[in-house]
């Protein structure tokens, strides 16, 4: 006890001004967080928002949060420089290394992590298919929200899937389960299948109720063909499993497990599952999420992978990216005759996709040719100005664009070919989604291919050291313009999809904030990594939609950019390479911090010597 006291005293006496400042900063951070999440203020009653934010009880929570953060930071700093404890002589093992040291721990960690993820996925999926929450709800109602959806079915389904995969990977011991008599196992398995079919079968109109169980009822599940389909499928899985003889007491080594996860068959399985999820899962979402999936997530995925070429691959900071998006959208409007200026001929939006791509690409080349000779930060400003000019044109050149009152109605996608007549419309949001996927998937593969080709290597070379790249005979301007044009054309294609879906275009949909949002998607995900960028786009576009969907979370949409700004700073300070960085970019960032190479065409700060 006394040693603890002595230690506490020692800790107390070694605190200095830097620690005090650190703690104060953290508390101030907590207060800023309180301000960010507090109510809106107004200039006519100054300090209203500030006062109300700090009067609520949760501000105490934020202060405690800040304090805790400050203490943690202090603790970390003090133990790192050895004031509070002896300096370690041997380097400390990282968490992963410790896990790898014991295979058992690795297994446990992997199992529990995947199980947790599957449960969360199941709950989210259940939540998506439930009704939206239009008002602030009590916890009781929130609970009901989950109860009314097919939560349990999804939960079981996902857990069963997880179990099957984990069993395959780790060869879990199912000795105890096998000790039951075989008929009981089969019967139990079939009952579980039945329950799954009842809860999670999307074709079944009935919700979980006793009515659906009794064969006498009209709504009984036994009158529906899918139930028998699931039963047969269940039996086909369960019966071989029960009668399969398998060697006991053998576990795969971790190397074998790694080999299994990267084997071609597993990769094929991953693609298969991903493809299935992308194509099938949206069918079971509610309409809100189907629309969100298209308009908020799909289109922004397309925009993000386009900007990724410019920012991630070629390393050029483009702040006017939304201009090309606007150009694509207005081109569509032009060819469907909804602008004040009439086109020579009307085109189906399908045919305007190539037109929009070409027009946006031309705009990209026209902007790129003169400006891409510039230094990176100048380029950022010039593109910012270009984005602003396009916005001003859309807003003020009324005779061309219709101005701020918007364009006329843009015609929809339609097919009139060989006797098929189909017009895309609002009532089926998924038809748009599949169309978008048909553009998005080829784009992803094309860009990935380009990045691994001669072009991609040239981009990397230019990004890392333009002078060295030029000395190797790479025409830097050509490749930069190429990246710019490709990014622009992707945005143009995204513009078509937005124009068609939204129907009427307003200049306010193409403001600078959107450029910054897309930039954040790219940076958050990880510049230069297509998977990362897609993940970033999906996560960052999904979170606000989710918060909007559930009004009880009290999220104001107007605060979105506030959080985006804060996220940008935090990412740059703590993880500039993004959540899933590309390996090469990560190395570039690390090199730059050690003063090697110029990580991007802008160069590290300390390296420039004035001439």
């Amino acid at each position: 006890m006394s040693s603890l006291m002595a230690r506490m005293k020692n800790m107390y006496t070694t605190l200095n001004a830097a620690d005090a400042r650190r703690i104060c900063t953290a508390v101030a951070g907590g207060l800023v967080l309180a301000l960010m999440t507090g109510p809106d203020g107004s200039i006519t009653s100054p300090l209203y928002g500030v006062r109300e934010s700090f009067l609520t009880t949760h501000v105490i929570g934020y202060i405690i949060f800040g304090l805790a953060l400050g203490v943690l930071m202090t603790f970390r700093a003090k133990t790192k420089d050895g004031t509070w404890r002896r300096v370690r002589t041997t380097p400390r093992k990282t968490f992963v290394q410790m896990l790898a040291a014991s295979r058992n721990a690795l297994r446990t960690a992997a199992l529990s992590l995947t199980a947790l993820v599957s449960v969360v996925v199941a709950l989210l999926f259940a939540d998506f298919s439930g009704p939206p929450a239009p008002h602030k709800m009590s916890w009781h109602e929130i609970f009901h929200q989950f109860l009314f959806t097919r939560t349990y079915g999804y939960l079981l389904l996902v857990l069963a899937l997880w179990f099957a995969i984990a069993n395959q990977l780790f060869q879990l011991s199912d000795k105890r389960l096998r000790s039951f008599p075989k008929p009981a196992l089969i019967l139990g398995g079939l009952v579980v299948t039945l329950f799954l079919a009842l809860c999670a079968d999307p074709f079944l109109p009935a919700r979980f109720s006793l009515n659906a169980l009794s064969p006498a009822s009209k709504h009984s599940m036994f009158h529906h063909w899918t139930t028998y389909f699931w039963l047969v499928l269940g039996a086909a899985i369960i019966i071989p499993w029960v009668f399969k003889r398998r060697p006991t007491g053998e576990r795969r080594s971790s190397r074998q497990m790694v080999a299994l996860t990267t084997s071609p068959s597993m990769r094929f399985l991953t693609y298969l599952i991903a493809g299935f999820v992308v194509l099938e899962a949206p069918k079971y979402l509610s309409t809100y999420w189907q629309i969100t999936l298209y308009q908020q997530i799909g289109v922004f995925c397309l925009l993000a992978i386009g900007l990724n070429i410019v920012v991630g691959f070629a390393g050029l900071l483009d702040l006017g990216y939304v201009a090309f998006y606007a150009i694509g959208a207005y081109t569509t409007a032009y060819f469907s005759g909804s602008l004040p200026v009439q086109p020579p001929f009307h085109l189906n939006p399908f045919l305007t996709i190539p037109c929009a791509i070409i027009v946006a690409m031309l705009a990209g080349v026209l902007l790129g040719l003169p400006t891409l000779r510039l230094r990176g930060d100048y380029l950022a400003i010039v593109t910012l100005g270009f984005g602003e000019i396009i916005y001003v044109l859309a807003n003020d050149w009324v005779r061309l664009t219709g101005g701020s009152i918007g364009t006329g109605l843009v015609s929809n996608f339609s097919i009139h070919l060989l006797g098929i007549n189909y017009v895309w419309n609002e009532s089926n949001p998924l038809s748009y989604y599949y169309l978008l996927i048909a553009i998005l998937l080829p784009a992803i593969f094309l860009f990935d291919f380009l990045n691994n080709s001669r072009v991609g290597r040239s981009w990397a070379a230019i990004r890392e050291d333009e002078v060295a790249a030029a000395s190797l005979g790479i025409n830097a301007l050509k490749y930069k313009v190429m990246a710019f044009a490709m990014g622009a054309s992707t945005a143009g294609a995204a513009g078509v999809f937005t124009a068609v879906k939204v129907g009427t275009l307003f200049p306010n949909s193409f403001v600078l904030q959107l450029s910054i949002t897309i930039l954040v998607l790219v940076i958050f995900g990880g510049m230069g990594s297509i998977v990362g960028v897609l993940c970033g786009a999906i996560i960052l576009q999904w979170v606000p939609s989710y918060l909007n969907f559930h009004a009880y979370l009290g999220f104001q949409e107007s605060d979105l950019y506030l959080y985006i700004g804060a996220l940008l700073i935090v990412m740059m300070i703590f993880r500039p390479q993004g959540i899933i960085p590309s390996r090469r970019r990560l190395r570039e960032f690390n090199d730059a911090e050690e003063g090697l190479g110029s990580a991007d065409p802008l160069g590290a700060i300390n390296q420039e010597t004035p001439t």
Binding site: I43, L317, G376, M571, E594, T611
Partner: protein
């Protein structure tokens, strides 16, 4: 036409004040401070609240002493608010990166983040609608010159900016701090070896630029009222002005601002479409960057584009 010319000159003086912030920071850090527009916004809001609480809905009598009092105190308050925000931006968005020696792209992005954060925080706390500011003086037309009207407001801006521009020129070229700034701009490592406290000098640079930005915000607030996004466009023009005069060059920024103002506003007389001024400004920017990237007076420090 003369009206537009005068409008251009006085808008240009505000651009000059703001451009100084860009040029000073660029001089020492070789960075465009994207968050500088929020310095103007803060200055504007500080001025708004100051005038709101001292004058409110009353009409000012318009005697010269009162006008002078409101202008001087308002300029000081806005300037100090701008200074505080500029230093805070340096502290939270730049210094953590500098300590880690991050690549330049990281600075740009972090500055954009800071700008967005401040912009939207102001929007959240003060509402997202533009509001008119109480007038600290009677804005009557003093005299008319060849059809161009010169108002009291123009006089105030002229006087205040001349005083400020001369002061800052003096600070940079004569004082110890100015010498430190120039030393850091020339060579960071050598300057620190010579005993210049680099961190303090950088903070001082931000503070100087911030003061000018805050004052510019005060004048914009009196003239056009305040809004959370009031900083965006003037800042873009001011950057153009800084490039026009030669970025990194203090006197260049002053001249660049006025020249840009004239170039931007005068053609509107013939074109008749006020929204074209932005198009003109950016065309100027692109042309300058293409044909004379060192600006009118030449980039005194650093390499060319």
């Amino acid at each position: 036409m003369f009206n537009y010319l005068i409008q251009g000159i006085f808008a240009g003086l505000i651009f000059s004040l703001l451009a100084l912030g860009y040029t000073l920071v660029y001089g020492v850090l070789r960075l465009i401070n994207f968050a500088h527009s929020e310095v103007l916004m803060t200055g504007g809001f500080a001025g708004y609240f100051y005038l709101h609480y001292t004058i409110g809905q009353h009409l000012v009598s318009g005697n010269i002493g009162e006008t002078l009092f409101y202008i001087v105190t308002g300029v000081l308050i806005s300037g100090v608010a701008g200074t505080v925000v500029a230093v805070a931006i340096e502290r939270f968005a730049y210094r953590p990166l500098r300590r880690r020696n991050a690549p330049k792209l990281a600075y740009l992005i972090s500055a954009i983040g800071a700008s967005y954060f401040l912009l939207n925080l102001a929007g959240k706390e003060f509402g997202r609608y533009p509001t008119a500011t109480s007038q600290p003086f009677d804005n009557h037309v003093v005299f008319t010159l060849w059809g161009g009207q010169i108002s009291m407001y123009d006089f105030v801006i002229l006087a205040a900016s001349i005083v400020l521009l001369v002061t800052i020129d003096w600070i940079v070229s004569r004082t110890k701090m100015g010498r430190a700034i120039r030393a850091v701009a020339q060579d960071v490592e050598t300057a620190s070896l010579m005993g210049v406290n680099v961190n303090r000098t950088i903070a001082g640079t931000f503070a100087l630029g911030g003061f000018m930005g805050g004052v510019a915000g005060f004048f914009v607030a009196i003239n056009q009222g305040v809004a959370y996004d009031m900083g965006f466009k003037p800042a873009l023009f001011a950057f153009t002005a800084a490039v026009l005069g030669g970025i990194g060059n203090v006197r260049g920024a002053m001249i660049g601002g006025v020249v840009l103002g004239i170039v931007m506003f005068t053609p509107i007389y013939w074109l008749g479409q006020p929204w074209l001024e932005e198009v003109i400004a950016f065309s100027v920017l692109v042309l300058i960057l293409l044909f004379r990237p060192t600006g009118l007076l030449g980039e005194r420090l650093g390499r060319s584009a």
